[in-house]
Symmetry: C2
Subunit: 288 residues, 2 copies
DNA sequence: TACATCGGTTCAAATAATGAAACGCAAAAT
DNA sequence: ATTTTGCGTTTCATTATTTGAACCGATGTA
């Protein structure tokens, strides 16, 4: 008996060859890293962001690495359901109107955004600084509720803005209590250096996570934007599963010790409220 | 030379056989009714609505007609991108958080919703009745901007609510200027009778559309909800392509002739503003 | 004029989707 | 207590579907 590795463009499978009949063995052996067609198509949407509103066919193909025909088929499928729309003139694709409907439908069913926003607002009033609450959406951690500081010099966080796991306090708070597999996936890819202080070495980040697990609070100082300090605490869903984080972002110059004490305390209570809102419980070994 | 029909479970193609080489002829001939895998997966999302927030695997399979394994694969793909999320306890699927991000991103890029809402509000103040603006999203016409009447007895339209093509004034206004193929598709399926007055016979609807094309205004009286009158006018995008409709919905008892004159006029100007907003032009043969 | 790039199309080859059957489990019915 | 029913999930051979290199015509550029 011997093993055989069969690699296709989208998956790597380990076959166990014994006698005459090769059979794919499941479980520990089969490493199906291959995204299904559906997954690949949906991944196209991730290439949209604040800086890239409109994308052409060839750009999509380049960005994704898919063949042009494949990309086109995906896009037409997405278009027919309103997930993207094509500008008649420029032939570029934009995010489609379908999101409007589904977002409203989801809010109608699970009106968490409102509740989350009030928690963010309370967190803002008790600290005077920009507060935001983030949650996982697919593979990303995005801020869902924001309450900006009223001060002239303030940090701005856009609702819907993704929080890089490795570079933000929210991201670290999340990873510290995520499953090992998730952490590995999040830190396994190329880690973008948003500033000169961004940690891009996974080893250093693992150390940080260890510290966060001990205190239940995470910090980031200038790792996402220069001179900006982040403080965050995780909140949990049923069974102690990590859901997201409550966070404060403030200019580093205002970070006096006295203020930080208030901020940390406020974040903790906000995180507790969020955990309650989601019907969650804290994990066994959580520090508070 | 002869024709050959090749049917697969998911598509029907017409081949033109001439000589020795069979080649699928495109355009008028090839009827690719076959949804791609991606399309099928996305279709699952359409089963969510106001009354059905959570759907289980088997229900999805029944509703869609797909095999359970297939359905599960689709759902896990959708879940991994945050388009649905599975309740840990009940194992039911809900709409996911991804829509939050994309909806906000789209609004950040193309802030039409704001503008549309103000137009709806203006339409409401000039008529005193519930006004709403709809647009196509994928296959459906959904209301994107709403301004409710202040009167006690008012018609309520939810933002994001789909407007059935055959039963609402907005739907008729749209179909009247849509492509023949689109009309056929919209009226080809089973037409739900929302009230006893709903027209479910496509022939009758085609007649109505003819009338709408002449006047540029569509009406519905009690065809979507009893005792509710709808008035709508289409608005257009570049090249005279139909985009959606501006509409008023009011209790039938308030529909005096004098009021209707004002309403029609107001709707027309709202539609014109919407057409301008979308950088659109009216089709050649449009009545006004 | 030549050259590059764009969106889009084609079709045989190769892959990934499919679906019937079976499994384990829990709740409902007997 | 036992059987039945229905759920979500897994399996795996079959085959329908995706895939991608090459191609097309249009448009833009050196």
């Amino acid at each position: 008996m011997y093993y055989m590795l069969k690699a296709t463009p989208n998956s790597v499978k380990l076959f166990m060859q014994s006698g005459d009949k090769a059979s794919a063995t499941k479980g520990v052996d089969t490493v199906t890293a291959g995204p299904s067609t559906v997954l690949k198509a949906l991944t196209l949407l991730d290439f949209f962001n604040e800086r890239r509103h409109s994308i052409g066919l060839s750009d999509f193909a380049k960005l994704s690495g898919y063949n042009k025909s494949t990309t086109l088929r995906f896009l037409t499928a997405l278009e027919s359901k309103g997930f993207v729309e094509q500008d008649e003139k420029t032939r570029l694709y934009n995010l489609g109107p379908a999101f409007l409907r589904f977002a409203q439908l989801r809010e109608a069913c699970f009106p968490v955004v409102d509740a989350v926003n009030t928690i963010a607002r309370d967190l803002n009033t008790s600290t005077g600084e920009t507060a935001h609450v983030s949650a996982v959406s697919g593979e990303w951690l995005v801020s869902v509720g924001v309450a900006e500081s009223q001060k002239a010099n303030r940090v701005i966080v856009e609702p819907g803005e993704p929080c890089p796991y490795h570079a933000t306090a929210s991201g670290l708070a999340y990873l510290a209590f995520a499953t090992p597999g998730f952490v590995e996936a999040a830190l396994g890819r190329e880690l973008e250096a948003h500033t000169s202080d961004t940690l891009t070495n996974p080893r250093l980040i693992y150390e940080k996570l260890e510290a966060v697990r001990k205190t239940g609070i995470s910090y980031s100082s200038g790792t996402y934007e220069e001179e900006v300090l982040g403080v965050a605490a995780p909140y949990f869903g049923p069974g102690g599963r990590i859901c997201g984080a409550a966070a404060i972002a403030l200019p580093a110059v205002r970070a006096t010790d006295a203020r930080m004490v208030i901020i940390e305390e406020s974040i903790r209570t906000a995180a507790k409220r969020l955990t309650a809102l989601h019907g969650g419980t804290y994990p066994e070994d959580f520090p508070y």
